[in-house]
Amino acid sequence: MTRKVNPKVAPDHVLELDHAVIDEMDISGHWNRMFEQRVIFDYDVAQLDRVTALDGGESMGWCYQCAQCIPVCPVDHVGSYGPRKIYRNLQLGQDLFTDDDLWLCTTCANCLRVCPKEVDMLQIMPAVRKAAVLAGDVPADLQDVFEKTARYGNPLGKNAKRRAEWTKGLDVEVPLISEVGRKVDVLWWVSDYPAYHPRGIDASRALARVLHHLGVDFAILGAEERHDGDSMLRAGEAGLFEMLAEHNIEVLNSYEFDVLLTTDPHAYNAFLHEYPQRGGTYNVVHYTKFLEQRLDDLGMTETIDRTITFHDPCYLGRHNGEYDAPRTLIGALPGSEFVEMWRNRENGYCCGGGGGGMWLDGLAADNQSMRLSEKRVMEAVETGADTLCVVCPYEVSRFEDAVKSTNNDGKLEVLDIAELLETALGLSNGQRG
């Protein structure tokens, strides 16, 4: 195919001059000035080498500064951190091991999705953090959470023995697998926030009612369950992860069940990608997928008069490719309307809770113009939705706080899909918090 060219300058008007002066400015050029060595090898690459020398840090050296990562990095939108900038700062001598930048990445995986060089921040950041943790360089907030998780098995620092207390007084039975004394169809991995946080408990109680409604043969571990460790691993506490995984695998391997049902996408991620190589292989299913497969049995009767938008959790969506199950469930809510935020599915915006971000609010506040959760809530409000549906237990408290701090109180309600389903099934007692 030939392109039609419409020349702006006729060929016979082109002049060749040895020297050209325009408006008293000498604009003469040397014929080969484009071929001279550019000064790109003058940097001290010592700091970059420290990162690329780490097991997992190698790909930092592959960055060729194309900056595709910048517009998709959720942190760059509210601050100066961005994956490309890390490479550049290392060239300029940044000590990433002690810099705040080290802790800003939420391991949301959107940079890796677009990176033509496969610079993998999901490997790089945990590797550098691991070295920093071993050197004792840990932000105070995170230190507290590591210590609590090591001691109590949950990042909230709650009494480990009270992990099943949320089931007390519930109108449906939630049996402990240790007391069932037989194989169950479904072992429900409840996770920390669903077991301890007031709004997490709301969602857990809702899910218990929905499972009961479906007649699912299920049980929980209660006090035997400890934090899955995934976020600790991304935050660099690899030893803590190993300790938790060893315990959890020993417990899980002592019981018989067909499906390991997870509430938390981070736990789902750990069971899919980290536990198998340590002797823990399970048929793990996120609760949205589990419920989607039983959609026909749900039989929703109550009208949900809401306009709903949905936030993709990074560890369910980008990390593990599940975008449809939650949307199918929302779509099946009778009478409801669904609207997408402009950043959705593969390009979903991060809530800020991943990679240790859940516990680094102070550090984020020092380095960002707003929380990621606030940015996301503003996007949700823009859609005109009155309900923000979530399917990750990190998000309810993050987004509810953000609704208040962005002065959107009363405009947007944050609800777990389990809460919406229990209402649509007529199972809800309407009490929350």
Partner: protein, 257 residues
């Protein structure tokens, strides 16, 4: 400087605290125990002194429980050169009995400085360090918030009430009750603690059963009843301030506005 640090486990308040059957003590059978917060500061101060001026740090703890071993392994992982368990399943010892056990164990050894937490969250009487110094006949300063090497001895800052501090020249050896280290106690990675554990970096010293005690007998212990009558003050700053002044005056505090 050759430094000894005394560590101690205290009941973990995250657990529900329950009384024993005759209501004279906590029911210790079902309690979890954690490192006493002030002892963590004593350890941090010891490690900072070692890092600044060389020497060694040895951590001591009375008891044989897993939690006692855990705090000693953690001390080694943080940088202590040795950890010594004064082993016997002794249950709860009062300050006098602890000081006696520690004096027997430490008297033989030639530490130049012994650091204790200024008090522990279970007894809160702050006696161990001073009783230990008396038994060993060594100088003592308590409520210490700063330790600097000065000549052959130390320059030690002690905190008094109302924000007043005093600085003492202390000759060595000495015993200090530490209120706060120069920086928050450091983090140590779980993998480092496990390394220390796997290396078995723990020795045991003979435990000499104490003969003395404080002479105090606890006759009854009660769980505090939660009170009522908290008032949430609403309104703007002016209104809230007025209400606070009103309440203070009603309680007999402060003169006329």
């Amino acid at each position: 400087m050759d430094i000894a640090v005394i560590l101690r486990t205290v009941p973990d308040p995250v657990e529900e605290l329950e009384l024993n059957d005759d209501e004279t003590d906590l029911d210790r059978d079902y309690l979890g125990f954690v490192l006493n917060e002030f002892d963590d500061h004593a350890l941090e101060e010891a490690l900072l002194l070692k890092e600044a001026g060389g020497g060694s740090v040895t951590a001591y703890a009375i008891g044989t429980t897993d939690e006692v071993e855990q705090i000693l392994y953690t001390a080694v992982a943080k940088g202590a050169d040795a950890a010594v368990k004064l082993g016997d399943d002794v249950g709860a010892l009062d300050a006098h009995a602890q000081a006696e056990v520690l004096a027997a164990a430490l008297g033989e050894r030639s530490h130049e400085l012994i650091l204790c937490g200024v008090q522990a969250s279970d007894e809160i009487d702050g006696q161990v360090a001073m009783l230990l110094s008396a038994k060993l006949d060594l100088p003592h300063v308590s409520v210490v918030v700063g330790v600097e090497p000065a000549g052959d001895g130390l320059s030690v800052t002690k905190e008094y009430w109302g924000g007043i501090t005093a600085t003492y020249d202390v000759s060595l050896p000495a015993v200090l009750g530490v209120q706060a280290a120069q920086q928050a106690p450091r983090y140590v990675a779980v993998s480092r603690i496990r390394q220390a554990q796997e290396a078995g970096a723990l020795s045991e010293a003979p435990f000499v059963p104490p003969t003395g005690s404080s002479g105090i007998t606890i006759t009854a212990m009660r769980i505090p009843e939660s009170g009522t009558g908290a008032e949430m003050i609403s309104g703007d700053e002016e209104a809230a301030a007025d209400r606070i002044v009103e309440l203070l005056q009603a309680a007999g505090m402060g003169g006329g506005a």
